[in-house]
């Protein structure tokens, strides 16, 4: 069951991906990854591990948002047919 869900995510048409990415709150993404990854303020340049953490965090959050978008659309259409 999980493999099918994954396949759906990859095969999304570009326009749907674009629409979803415009709905994603970029401010939230930025603040989250900053708060989760950056704790050390002894230097002003980002450390390598902080950089890696932020990259992973951002990618992960975007993938998560795409998945949520799919579920959201499903739940939305289920609710519509129930009316």
């Amino acid at each position: 069951m999980d493999k099918n869900m994954l396949a759906g995510l990859e095969g999304l048409p570009e326009e749907d991906k674009a629409r979803m990415s415009s709905m994603i709150d970029h401010l939230q993404l930025r603040d989250r990854c900053f708060n989760d990854c950056v704790d050390n303020f002894t230097r002003k340049a980002l450390q390598k591990q902080e950089e890696t953490c932020v990259m992973r965090c951002a990618e992960k959050f975007l993938k998560h948002s795409m998945r949520v978008g799919l579920r959201f659309a499903e739940l939305n259409s289920q609710a519509a047919t129930q009316d």
Partner: protein
Amino acid sequence: MAANTTPAGIDKEQAFGMAETEMEYRVELFNRLGQTCFNKCVDKRYKESELNMGENSCIDRCASKYWQVNSMIGQMLSAGGRPPM
């Protein structure tokens, strides 16, 4: 006379306003759902950029439950009137 799809008593401007509000509500709901389920389901250590199987399942179930709670509350607030969706 041209066919009118808006319900009687509501002019086009009102209908547009309602649709705009509805859209804002949807976007807000999407963002809140995403935020909440990320907090509940994703390991903050970010050991990798992929979502693992456990996280995927958690996200799916979380979205479903969040949606149900949202509907419940919407119904309670509208005093047992029609469901908000």
